[in-house]
Amino acid sequence: MRCMVMVKATRESETGVLPTAGQLAEMTRFNEELAKAGVLLVGEGLAPSARGKRVHFDGHGGRHATDGPFAETKELVAGLWVWQVRSMEEALEWVRRCPAPFEGECQIEIRPLLEAEDFGAALSPELRAAEERLRAGLASRD
């Protein structure tokens, strides 16, 4: 399974303060561990919301854009990873090993990506039957 791991913003991160050399070194080490474990697919940091834009859909076909910064700091994302893990427990274990992204109070959120099986659950009996047919050699790839 894959999951997106989001580092939530803090008041400091929203001011655009960059990490110290020490913090950067620690995070690089952690990223290397993720890579060596074959877990890391994507890892990016985001600019403060002051450089972002939002588009509001009013539900009646209208939409309009607003410029950042946005107020609800704790709900904003400051950085993200996409990890390939075997379970949510594994993702949690990796976050446990992650150096604190910011000084002071902060938060990391883990959300599973929807995968093919999340969409195809309703079809599974049929798919299973098809797999059986395949195994029996009644269907071919040609």
Partner: protein, 407 residues
């Protein structure tokens, strides 16, 4: 934390930590069986302590310390027994026992994981043993999980692992990461094992046991690990690129009714752009490292031609034909001949060195073909029934080049 949560947490930590733990133990005790036993002892200690004390901050170091303590006890006992044997002269053939330096476990020399990969894929082992050992030691899969993945009975896999460890001991394996010229040949074997694991998973369609698709993920994970550990090896990136691009199509490979969809008919909107991006990046890296003509890099380059084409019609067949020709030159194998239209060169029967298919026990397995209906993948059953292309030409959309291993 509840009991069940702790148990799950311990299992998770174990799967993450055991490869490095066993790798370090093998380095010090030079015996895979003993290394695994000591690692298991450490796991037992964790199961005793962690439910009440909580999972430690650095579980890897904790497990290493526990393994060392148990190792010292056990090896002292063994030393004592062997001294007695020597004293009464009952067994003059007994090799003098030297106590391994278990403190060396803490030296982080950085290649314990690689050591374990090369040990599991040791040339003294059969292909099936290499696969079983790799999944067990590197993937942390249980015997039961490996058995389910390969549709084989549990005891068969257990036996295979026991025998593999015995073979390694008999072969007086040095348990070292090979260097220089030896590395090239040994690395080819490692890549072959990883790709076989990938293909076993890739051959399964949705709706089958989840263990088989999980094999794809394990293979990808191993490929990514290997690329982080050996960042200068072009073919490691070639294989990684091939697997990432092939895996990017997994959502498009089956129709809603479960029947396979051939590459040219697939809905390209279902291809996974993240995996394609990663695959193309890995291919570029392989090429930068001078690996343009490695067999995996070439197959990845063919896969990349498809990945880059926005529609089936936009496929660059000229380039694909040129890549196949190059592939046939550097790696002449039946798979390549299958995809390059030269019917007279096709073998009548599988070459004897191909291992048996685990699924069609009566047919030999051909590592990269995907033509056998019962296997859906990798064997020689129905070899003769595969339609041969009539003439030499750029591979047109209906030739085996497009519905063979390319889907």
């Amino acid at each position: 934390m509840h009991g069940a949560d702790t148990r799950k947490a311990i299992e998770t930590v174990w799967r993450l930590e055991s490869p490095r733990l066993i790798g370090a133990l093998v380095r010090v005790v030079h015996d895979l069986d003993l290394a695994e036993e000591l690692a298991q002892d450490a796991l037992v200690a964790a199961l005793e302590h962690w439910p009440t004390e909580g999972v430690p901050d650095n579980p890897g170091a904790w497990l290493m310390t526990a393994a060392r303590r148990r190792g010292i006890d056990q090896l002292h006992r063994r030393q004592l027994i062997e001294r007695k044997h020597a004293a009464i002269g009952s067994d003059p053939g007994y090799a003098a026992f030297t106590m391994p330096d278990l403190d060396a476990l803490d030296d982080d020399i950085g290649d314990d994981l690689l050591r374990l990969i090369f040990t599991a894929c040791h040339p003294a082992l059969s292909g099936e043993a290499q696969i079983a050992l790799t999944l067990r030691l590197l993937g942390g899969l249980t015997t039961d999980e490996i058995a389910r993945a390969f549709l084989a009975p549990d005891p068969t896999i257990a036996q295979r692992i026991v025998r593999a460890k015995r073979t390694l001991a008999k072969a007086r394996t040095t348990y070292e990461v090979p260097r220089g010229e030896a590395l090239k040949a040994r690395l080819a074997a490692v890549l072959g094992v990883i790709y076989l694991i990938f293909n076993e998973g890739y051959a399964a369609t949705s709706g089958s046991d989840w263990m088989r698709p999980a094999l794809c993920e394990e293979a990808l994970r191993l490929g990514r690990t290997l690329s982080a550990l050996m960042p200068r090896e072009a073919e490691v990136y070639g294989l990684l690129a091939l697997m990432e691009i092939q895996a990017s199509r997994s959502r498009a490979r089956t129709a809603a009714n479960g029947t396979p969809v051939l590459l040219m008919a697939q809905n390209r909107a279902l291809w996974d752009p993240l995996l394609i991006h990663r695959g193309l990046a890995a291919l570029e890296r392989a090429q930068q490292l001078g690996g343009t003509s490695g067999p995996y890099a070439l197959q990845a380059a063919i896969a990349a031609c498809h990945a880059r084409a926005a529609t089936a019609e936009a496929t660059d067949w000229k380039r694909i034909a040129a890549l196949y020709a190059e592939l046939a030159r550097v790696s002449p194998s039946p798979v390549i001949e299958l995809t390059v239209p030269s019917p007279s060169a096709w073998p009548k029967a599988p070459p004897p060195h191909y291992p048996w298919s685990t699924r069609c026990a009566t047919s030999r397995r051909c590592p990269a073909t995907t033509r056998c209906p019962p296997c859906a993948a990798t064997c020689w059953k129905n070899w003769d029934a595969i339609p041969r292309p009539a003439s030499n030409s750029d591979a047109p959309p209906n030739s085996p080049a497009t519905n063979g291993n390319a889907n």
